[in-house]
Amino acid sequence: MAEVQQQADSGKGGKKRAKKMSTKIDMTPMVDLAFLLLTFFMLTTTFSKPQTMEINMPVKPENEEEQMPLKASNALTIIMGENDKLFYYYGLGDPADNPEVIESDYSANGIRKVLISPKVRGNDKMTVLIKPMEKSRYKNVVDILDEMKITDTKKFALVDITENDKKLVSTKLGQ
């Protein structure tokens, strides 16, 4: 109120008006910088943490006698060969049984169909033995472990290849 009165008292004609300054500032350089930083951080940032796959290896038996042998009727053996070849047979690969080795592949219609077939699915005790040969690619091993996950196969083991299996595969390939 006091201010208003004072103004009235002064009585000078013609109000002095402060020159109206534009309150706008040129933001362009700032925006340029902001976007530069934005691009930089967006490109350097590493968002996705690597995925992993947990795997439990069979524990080496301390005492052979305490082990329960796996029945051949409850076993499916998958062999990974070189050049992305895949073979499987039912049983443990005893030469006396002369198992029928079947060639398959890593596609959705290959080994996955076998893993979801009633013969494997219907048997609770069915154990899948995964045997990669020395020359098989690491990708194949991961693919097969992945198939186990996709088909929800709980009982599987990554085991070393035996001479018998190698022989079976070479006979199969020799045909």
Partner: protein
């Protein structure tokens, strides 16, 4: 009739919301960013449908590259310094404080212990050019075993992750797995890329 004045408008628009958003994103990225550590080797990992994430710390990364070389990596500077101390005791190689410092800053490495000293003594640009031979994992000379053993002694919580290349022969991976199994490590992780799970079987 008065002339119709075409009002000249400045072609400027209000950038404030855009700038707000830009700065918001800048702040976000600045705070969340974690620079990708420089690795000694590029490994192209296979993909899997697994959705488990690798933890940030207490991880031993065993990289196996396309040329069947094995690299060892562990996080944590203090862990690495202590680890190098243990290894130098075991192998009778002494490292200077500078070499220890260099070692503690490396993400991973793939040189045998007897070459490690000269490797660490190099200048950084030179060191990057060196073609690392990989850590010996043969049954005759298995240094990887000692690296893993000493790390596990230092840090019991450590998790082991194998990062294998798509094209590596399983033989090399098998050697690494065998080294782990010899130490009764039967549970470990395989580092993979993401892949979508097929909708139906």
């Amino acid at each position: 009739m008065p002339k119709v004045k075409v009002k000249r408008t400045h072609p400027s628009l209000d950038m404030t919301p855009m700038v707000d958003l830009a700065f918001l994103l800048v702040t976000f990225f600045m705070l969340t960013t974690k620079f990708a550590p420089e690795e000694a080797v590029i490994v192209d990992t296979p993909s899997s449908v697994s959705e488990i994430k690798l933890p940030d710390s207490n991880v031993i990364t065993l990289s196996v590259d396309g040329e069947n070389r094995v690299f060892f990596g562990i996080d944590g500077q203090q862990t690495k310094e202590a680890l190098l101390g243990k290894i130098s005791e075991k192998y009778g190689v002494n490292f200077t404080p500078e070499e220890t410092k260099t070692f503690s800053l490396m993400t991973n490495f793939g040189v045998p212990v007897n070459q490690l000293k000269s490797y660490l003594a190099m200048e950084t640009p030179e060191r990057k050019k060196v073609n690392q031979p990989g850590i010996p994992v043969d049954s005759a000379r298995n240094e990887l075993k000692d690296w893993i053993l000493e790390t596990r002694k230092l840090n019991q919580k450590v998790i082991i992750a194998i990062k294998g290349d798509v094209n590596v022969n399983y033989e090399t991976v098998q050697k690494v797995v065998k080294t782990l199994q010899d130490q009764k490590v039967n549970r470990f992780n395989l580092v993979t890329d993401m892949e979508t799970r097929p909708a139906k079987l």
